[in-house]
Symmetry: C2
Subunit: 704 residues, 2 copies
Amino acid sequence: MTDINFIFNPEQIAVIGASRSKEKIGFAILDNIITSGFKGAIYPVNPREEEISGLKCYCSVKDIDSPVDLAIITVPVSRVTQVAEECGQFGVRGLVVITAGFKEVGREGLKLERKLISICERYKMRMVGPNCVGVMDTHTPINASFARGFPNEGNISFISQSGAMLVSILDWSFQMGIGFSRFISLGNKADLNEIDFIESCATDPLTSVILCYVEDITDGKRFVEVCSEAARKKPIIILKSGTSTAGAQAASSHTGALAGSDRAYEAAFRQSGVLRAESMNELFDLARAFSSQPLPDQDRVAIVTNAGGPAIVATDAVEKFGLKMARFTKDTIDKLRENLPAEANIYNPVDIIGDARENRYRFALETVLKDQNVDSALVLLCPAAVTEPENTAHTIVDLNTKYSTKPIMAVYMGGKTLTKGKEYLTNHDIPTFTFPEPSVHALEGMFRYNEYLSAPETKIVEDIPDLDQGAVRSILENVFADRRVVLLGHEASAVMTAYGIPNSKIYLAKNEDEAVDISDQLGYPVALKISSPRIAHKTDVGGVEIGLHSEKEVRKAYQRIMEKVTHFLPDAPIYGIEVQDMVDEGVEVIVGMSRDIQFGPLLVFGLGGIYVNLIEDVSFRLASSLVNCDDVRKMISETKAYSLLKGYRGKKPADLDALTDTMLRTARLVTDFEEITEMDINPVRVHPKGSTALDIKITIERKD
Amino acid sequence: MTDINFIFNPEQIAVIGASRSKEKIGFAILDNIITSGFKGAIYPVNPREEEISGLKCYCSVKDIDSPVDLAIITVPVSRVTQVAEECGQFGVRGLVVITAGFKEVGREGLKLERKLISICERYKMRMVGPNCVGVMDTHTPINASFARGFPNEGNISFISQSGAMLVSILDWSFQMGIGFSRFISLGNKADLNEIDFIESCATDPLTSVILCYVEDITDGKRFVEVCSEAARKKPIIILKSGTSTAGAQAASSHTGALAGSDRAYEAAFRQSGVLRAESMNELFDLARAFSSQPLPDQDRVAIVTNAGGPAIVATDAVEKFGLKMARFTKDTIDKLRENLPAEANIYNPVDIIGDARENRYRFALETVLKDQNVDSALVLLCPAAVTEPENTAHTIVDLNTKYSTKPIMAVYMGGKTLTKGKEYLTNHDIPTFTFPEPSVHALEGMFRYNEYLSAPETKIVEDIPDLDQGAVRSILENVFADRRVVLLGHEASAVMTAYGIPNSKIYLAKNEDEAVDISDQLGYPVALKISSPRIAHKTDVGGVEIGLHSEKEVRKAYQRIMEKVTHFLPDAPIYGIEVQDMVDEGVEVIVGMSRDIQFGPLLVFGLGGIYVNLIEDVSFRLASSLVNCDDVRKMISETKAYSLLKGYRGKKPADLDALTDTMLRTARLVTDFEEITEMDINPVRVHPKGSTALDIKITIERKD
C-alpha cells in the first residue's frame, strides 16, 4: 500500500488553470481552497495572470519556487497531458484532474486517458480523476474541489463515483446536520480508485465510517483483500448501482464501466465485511448510525414510547429486519410496574403513555438501558399535549453518554413541534428519524457489522490431501486437443477422482464386450449412457438405460441405445457408451461454479435436481474464500437444503462432512484451474454416510 | 350503508364536557371547533359554566333549544354512559366519544363499553370511539378533536386506529406541505370502524385518496365487500401493523385487538384492490403520488436527469419494483439527438448533463412526455453550477398540466439550494423526493392500482355441477358421531368424490379377504395403508405398502402391516386397512385450506410434496373469491409450480383445466362446509390428462 494521505493533507498545492473569472471552475477551486482555511502554500498557475485572489500566479508549475505535493488540474482537455508531464518533471507527488473529456467521451478520450496514466506511472505520480469534482478534508482543512460549500466537520468519509451525487449529498448534508471528514470524487478512476481510498480512509484517524457510491469495482480480488482488512477497522458501507439489467446498461453508457454480475458483488461484499446499502436513504441512515453510536452487543432491542401505534410499527420492523425484542429481567419489570402509571405497558415495547413528560422518559429509558438483556434502545416520541420533546432530547443524550456501550436511536414522529428536539439530538450524535422503520433497519446494519467483527480475524486454510493436479492437467489438455470445450462424462469423472471427490465412476466402453467387462468390475446394477460431444440431452434420444442387473441386460441395453441414437442422430460422432455404477439414495444438492470476470470463480450450493433454477434455493461464495470447513458449513446453512440435510421430517441426517469435503475440493479445483469456466455437479447425492457426485458438467476455455 | 357523512358536516354540534381551563381537553375541542371556522351551531355543555369562549353554555344536552347532529363527549369515564343516554333521549344522531377508560383498560372497561354500545343501538346513534382524538374535515370546515392544529386543505382522508399517530402525522404534514380532507381517529371502534369510514370517504367528493392505519380489521368479510367496491372509486392505501409475532403481541396488549393471520390480510387486501404500504414512509409516499398525479397507463417509465449516477440508481429501482424503462420511438431519439449536446445520453435515462438549464429540461421532458411509449416520467435534478431548480420546477408543473394524463415525479437531490424549487413543486402537486428509489416505488403503487381498475368489475360466478352436499354432510356427521376431528382416508376420499374431485379411491378393508376383493375390483397394482385414528405417520410404523401386483402380494402385505403395527402400537385402535389404487405420474402440487377467523377459508396452492413447508412456493386466496377459472388460473400462475405445470424442460404440460376444476371445487367445498377447519390435498397429482387428489387430510370442528 502506497501512502496517499498527502492528497488530503498536502503541504503545498498548485491550481493549474486557476482563473480570475468567477464563473470558471479554475476560480471556484482556488477560492474553495482559500476559504476552506487550508494552511499550506497555495500556488495558482495561469500564464495569463500575475495574481489571483491575492496570490502570486505562476506561468507554469515549473516556475514555483518550492516543491509541490498536489496539483489540481483544470486546464482544457487538450492541454492536460502536457501539464501533467510538467508536473511529473517538476516532482509533483499527486494530481487531481478535474478536466473531463477522457474515457467517458469515447475512443479518442480513452487514448488520451491512457497517455495520462502512462505519464503518471513514469513519474510515479498518483492521480485522482480525470473527470472528477475534486477532494475535500474537513480536518486539514482543504476543499480542493469546485463544489459549492464545504461539509461540516465529521467522521464520515464519502467516496463517490458520481460527482453529481457528491455535490447533491454535500448540499443535503447541511440540512440534515451530517458532518464529514473526507469527500472524494473518483471520476474515471484512471489511477486511484475506490479501493485505494477505502484503504487510505481506513488509516485516517479522523474517519470512523467509510461510505461509498460505486457503479463498478475496479479490481475484484484486490477489493476483497483490502476491504476484508479495512472492514475490521471501521465500517464500510457501499451503495453499488447498476444492479439491474437496465441499470447496468445505464452504467456502461455513463462511465464505460464493465459491471460484474450482482451475485458476485453480493458474495464479495459479504465476505469482505462490507455492508451493502440497498438505497440512498439506507446508505445515509447507516452512515448516521455508525458515525455516532456504539455497536450493539447483540440483537435485543428495547423500545420506549409514549404512543402504542408507532410502537407496534417499530416492533414489526424489529422482526422484519431479523432483530429481537428484548425480554426484560424480572427486576426491570418490577421496577417499571412500581413506577409507571397503571395504564402503561411494562413489557417491551414499554408504553409510558401519552401524558409522559421528560422525567418518565428518563426513568423508563434508564431502567431498560440498565437491563443486561437489552443491547440497544429505540425511543419513540409523538407530540401530545404535555410532551417535552426538547427536555426529553437532553435526557436521551445524557443517558446515551451514561450508558455509552448501548446504541440509542430516536424516532421523533412529527414536524415543527419537534424541530428543536430533533436538532438537539442530531447535534449530539443521536440518529434521529421521523418514522420507526428506518431506525430499526440501521440498528440491524450495526448488529450485522458487529457479527462480522466477532468472527475470528485470521482463517485457517485447511490442508487438502490427495490433489492430483497433473492428472487434471492432462485430461484438460486432451480435451483441448480434441477441440472440445465440454468434458465428456468419463473425463469429468476422472477430474473428480483426481481431486479426491467421490463420484459415480464412469468408464467409457468402446464396444459391447468392453461394456460388459466394465460392468463386471463395477458390480451390478449399472447404468449405460451414450457418449458423444454432440448429444447434450442423452435421455431425449433414448441414450440412457439405468438399473441394469446382469450381463444380458447390459448387452440388450447397449444394443438398444446404439440403435436409437444412430436412428435419431445418424451423423453424431459416437465415442462409445459410458458405464456408470448405480448410486445409493440420498439428499440431492447442487454444487456448481461460474466464473465472474471481476471476482473469479463463484461457488454455488443449493437444493439439487431438475428444479434448481426453478426453486433458486442457493447460496454463493467466492471460491477463494472457502478455505475451511467452517466457511463451507456456513454456506450450506444459508439454504433450505440444509434442513433436508439435517434430516427432514424424521429422515436420517445426511453426511455433512462428506459434502463439506466435496465442496472444499471443488472450490480448490476451480481455483487451481482457471481454464474451468463453468461447472455443475447436479446432483451431489449426500448419503447418511458419504456422498457421490453424479452428473458432472465441466466447461473449459484455453487461457492464453 | 347508513350515511354517516353528517359526522363530517353536522349542522349543530354539542361539546359535552366543554371547559374554560385551557389545559383541559374539553377546552381544546371547543376551541378547535370554533377556530377551524365551523359554520354550524356550537353548543358547549357543562353544568358548572354559563358561558365558554363567548358561547352560551348548557347544563345538559337536553337543555339545548335546537336539534343536535353531533355530540362530542369528553366528560369523565364514569359519566359517559349517562351522558350518552341523554343524547339518545334528546335525538342526537352521532357521538364522538373522546373519553378513555373503556375496553383498553380491561374487563371493567369492556363492560362499560358494551353498555355504551347498547345505548347507541337503542337510540340508533352512530358513535366514533371511545378513546379517540376526534374527527376533522377541512372542507366543512370542522376540527372536532383535541389535536393541536388543523390540517391544510387537501384531498387525502386519513383514518387511524392510533390517535398518537394521527397527531404526529398532522404535525408532520405542515412541514411536508401535505393537505388532507378528513382526519379520523378510530379509537376503540366500538361502533363505527375503518370499514364504515372507508365507505363514507369513498362517497366524499372532496376525498381522492383514502389512507388508513389499522392494527386489526373489525369484520373481514364486510371489509372485502366494502373495499372491493370503494377501491374502484378511489385508491385505498393501508398500513396494517402487528404483522410480526412480536408486533401482534404489542397490538393485543395495546387495543385488545385480535389480529388475523398476515397471509389472510395479504390475500384480502389484494383481492379488494387495497394497496398495502409496508412502512410509514411508503404510506405517505403513495398518498402524495395518488393525491396529485394521474395514474400511469402502463409501466413504462422515462427518466430525465442532469446527472448520471442518480439516474443509474433510479434505473435500478425501476427494475427492482417491476416497472419498465420506456423504449423511445425513433422519432423521440432523433429529436433528442438533434437538440441535445453530443455528450448527452439520448436513450432512457435521458442524461441532459450537468450544464443543463431550465430550457434543456423543458425540451427533454416534453419530448419524452409526447412519446407514446412513455407512461410516466421521473425528473432528476442535482444542484450543479448553472442548474435552475426553481425555473425547472415551473417547467415541470407546466408540462404536467399540458400532458395531464402522464404522472410526473420529481427527485430534487440536495438541500437548501433546492428548497424553493421543491416547495414550488410540492405546492403545485408534483410529488417531490430527495432520493430516487421512493419515487419509483410510488409509481409502482400507482401502476398496480391501475391494473386493479383495469380488471373487469363484475365477476362471473361459475356454475359447478355435481356437488353432493348431502353425502358430505352425512360423512361429517358420522365422524362427529365417532368423536373424531380428523377424517380417515376412505372418508376423505368419499368427500372428494361427493364434490366431483377426482381422487385416488380408497376403500376400507376390515380383513384380508376384503382387501383382496377390493384390490380385484380396483385392479392391480394397489397400495395398502393402515387405518387408525391414532396413527398420523403411517410410514413410520410400517403401515404402508405400495406397488402390490397380485392377490398374493396383497395378502402378504396385509399380514406384514398388521404384524408391525400391532408390534409397534399394540394399543392403537385399528379400523382396518385402506386399499388404494396406484396413480399415474404427474406434477405434484398442494391444494390446501386454513380457516382464518377474520376472513374465512383461505385457499393455498403451490408446489407439492414433502418439501412444501421448506420451499414455500405458495399463493393464497380467500376461497370465497375463487368463483371462476380465471381467478384460479391467476392464483396458479403466481407460483413457480406453474412453470412445472406448463411443461418444464421439455416435459409434457400438465392438465391445467383439471387442476383448475379441482381447485374450484375445493374452494366451494370449504365455503359450503364451515365445519371444515383445515384441509390438505398433498399432492394433487396433475397428469397430462386429468388430475388425482392423493393424500387428503381433512380436519373438522362442530359448529354450534
